[in-house]
């Protein structure tokens, strides 16, 4: 079935945000997922049509990124961080517990059951919340400092359709609604949740307690390299700035 005319309009609206329409492809695929529950062939055709690409070109992009799913995702997506730090802090145990509880493997969805919401379980990579390890994400909202018990309760609540609120975020809607926000359409939930969680402000609170602050009146001068070559030498070039080395080399 082809997508609704309104979806086509929204796909065009996304493409129009950019100087070159193709830049809209990632958010467009997020929109497709919000409408279709996964990246469908129809969704790929719609993106291709709007952008003047071939379906193969769109598929090539869609299959590169982990967040785009080719199998239907459940009402909720539960991601357990099992990258090293979270794994060590208990993420491995949480993931094993949820796998057993939901009777699914990685990137699989619970079987349909009357009166229960479906859940897709996935082990995910570092989600930039290491100070709250172990971390579980529901529809890409943060659930901090989890235990097997809390995560188990969390999926029970999700399955039963009870209201669930993220540790640092809003009340949980659904994976599809989350995908719509990623496509760039606001959902009005921005003002829910705190500005920061406790670990985010632990240094700030300690500084206040001890009367520490950035000085108002210091004066100093930094040793700033005058020549790009000097800057290259000082940078951690092994990591990300290899381009500048090459640039220098090509200047020679």
């Amino acid at each position: 079935m082809t997508l609704a005319a309104e979806t086509y309009d929204e796909l065009r609206e996304i493409a129009a945000r950019y100087p070159q329409a193709r830049s809209g492809l990632l958010p467009m695929l997020h929109l497709v997922q919000s409408v279709e529950g996964r990246v469908t062939p129809e969704g790929i055709h719609a993106c291709a049509e709007v952008l003047g690409l071939t379906p193969a070109e769109v598929s090539g992009v869609a299959t590169f990124y982990t967040m785009y799913k080719r199998h239907p995702v459940g009402t909720h997506h539960v991601g357990v961080c099992t990258n090293t730090l979270c794994a060590v802090m208990g993420g491995d145990e949480i993931f094993a517990c949820l796998r057993e509880k939901l009777e699914v493997g990685n990137d699989e969805t619970t079987a349909d059951a009357p009166g229960l919401q479906s859940i897709t379980l996935e082990h995910i990579e570092c989600n930039a919340a290491c100070d709250y390890a172990p971390v579980v994400m529901v529809n890409w909202e943060f659930f901090d400092n989890q235990t097997p018990e809390s995560a188990s309760q969390l999926v029970d609540d999700l399955r039963e359709g009870r209201e669930v609120v993220a540790s640092r975020g809003a009340r949980i809607t659904s994976w599809r609604e989350a995908e719509r926000v990623l496509a760039g359409f606001e959902d009005g939930l921005v003002d829910e949740g705190p500005a920061a969680g406790p670990a985010s402000v632990v240094g700030l609170e300690l500084a206040r307690e001890r009367g520490w602050a950035a000085p108002a009146d210091v004066h100093g001068s930094a040793d700033v390299p005058e020549e790009p070559s000097e800057a290259v030498e000082e940078a951690d070039t092994r990591r990300a700035e290899s381009e500048t080395i090459a640039e220098e080399a090509s200047d020679d």
């Binding site: 990632l26 099992t82 993220a166 920061a196 990300a240």
Partner: protein, 436 residues
């Protein structure tokens, strides 16, 4: 003497509704924009250069110098210029940009406007990883509020300067933190790194002159413009100026974000964080994320600035301090990071695509106790064939935990072989494990 902790970027994170424009404005938000718009763009650039601000995304390249790589405007061939913010924070251990954008997205938005003005860009993009829904909500709302208040759009603050800003969500690919892969991704393609030259400053987004900076770098700009280059340069060390957010995670009593002048030590930070978990000792740690070689107890007094960490054999990276105590098996930790690099390798170049796969094979059998002592040399040989031979820094980074862990913990690898398995019980390292 500067105080031990110096909240600048984190200063307003505890404020009521800190993410909203009224709360940000009450703290003097967008005042720096007026200061900048009253200056010539070149002078703003000079100010950022003189402040000594070095890239906060890992490499530590001087931000102002990077801006200076843009070719001068050519009236004969006027190409638009772009500013792209790298907010794809995905390096394991790194968790500073996400709380920054959640608590105070306007700090970043104001930084984007000032930086775009300084480089004369008329369009800017914030490329934020897709897996952080609430952060994306906060950024979208901040941009909307900034447009409504006249901080974005046409004739900003009556200056005649125009800027459009788009918040762009990624879709789950670590490699898109690599700046040229990010550009390909932002152009709607697979996120694979580009061959250089040409460099982004010359031919970046849509083959136009482009500056790409990390979110924390750009968010640092308003404070520099407001307080002056000398103020920023007066903190930190001579070559690693200013303050930065240090992210402590793992086996410390109070993990979290600690904003301090560059040059602080882990010994000091662990003390501030209440020490290592009761009954345990520090075993190994990453100074700047999993791609930076591991450190041990002997590195507690290394100054955490670019020079100090480099001299000690690692990299300051993103100041992602992951702390592991003596309950953790280093082979298990390194295997898991290696599985990550294998999963995230974009597949463009052979050393990284094939090499990370082979690294996992060998590490897996070592962790299970099925390996041979020669496997350690095999691993080092594999690393030697990846490091410096990969298309981008992902492959290089994949080798860091392996080579450094063999350097410091060779005996622990061998103990796996002697015991025919892992000598550690993973249950003892969890957040809920009873202390010894």
């Amino acid at each position: 003497m500067t105080d031990t902790l110096t909240p600048v970027l984190t200063a307003n994170w505890g404020d009521e509704r800190a993410w909203t424009l009224p709360a940000y404005a009450e703290q003097g938000g967008y005042d720096a924009l007026d200061v900048a718009l009253g200056m010539a763009p070149e002078d703003v650039q000079t100010m950022v250069k003189d402040s000594g601000l070095r890239g906060r995304g890992g490499a530590g390249f001087p931000t102002g110098v990077k801006w200076g790589f843009l070719p001068p405007p050519d009236p004969e061939n006027p190409k638009p210029r772009y500013l792209v913010v790298n907010a794809d924070e995905s390096e394991p251990g790194t968790c500073k940009d996400i709380p920054l954008m959640m608590a105070s997205p306007h700090t970043l938005v104001e930084g984007v406007i000032i930086s775009s003005y300084a480089i004369r860009a008329e369009r800017a993009f914030i490329y934020v990883r897709g897996e952080v829904l609430h952060v994306i909500r906060r950024l979208q709302a901040a941009v909307r509020e900034a447009y409504a208040a006249g901080h974005l759009g046409t004739n900003i603050h009556g200056s005649g300067y125009d800027l459009d800003l788009v918040v762009h969500a990624g879709a789950g690919a670590y490699i898109c933190g690599e700046e040229t892969a990010l550009l390909d991704s932002l152009e709607g393609r697979r996120g694979q790194p580009r061959l250089r030259p040409p460099f982004p400053a010359v031919a970046g987004l849509y083959a136009s002159p482009t500056v790409i900076n990390n979110a924390e770098s750009i968010a640092s700009v308003p404070a520099i413009v407001k307080n002056g280059a000398d103020w920023f340069a007066g903190m930190g060390t001579e070559k690693s100026a200013g303050v930065g957010i240090f992210s402590l995670s793992g086996h410390v009593k109070k993990p979290g974000q600690y904003e301090a002048p560059l040059g602080i030590t882990l010994r000091k930070l662990i003390e501030l964080a209440g020490g290592v978990r009761e009954g345990h000792e520090l075993k190994f740690w990453t100074p700047g994320g999993s791609s930076t070689p591991l450190f041990t107890q002997e590195h507690l007094d290394v100054t955490l600035d670019f020079e100090g960490v480099q001299a000690a054999g690692s990299m300051l990276g993103t100041r992602a301090l992951q702390i592991f105590d003596d309950s953790v098996c280093v082979v298990r930790a390194v295997l898991r990071w290696t599985e990550f690099y294998k999963h995230e390798s974009c597949g463009k170049c052979t050393p990284c695509r094939e090499g990370t796969w082979w690294l996992v094979q060998v590490l897996e059998r070592l962790e299970k106790g099925d390996g041979k002592p020669e496997d350690l040399d095999l691993l080092l040989d594999q690393c030697d064939n990846i490091l410096g031979r990969s298309f981008c820094a992902l492959g290089d980074g994949a080798t860091s935990p392996i080579t450094s862990s063999i350097q410091y913990f060779r005996d622990e690898y061998l103990a796996h072989l002697e015991q025919g398995g892992c000598p550690f019980d993973p249950a003892t390292s969890t957040a809920w494990a009873e202390s010894k």
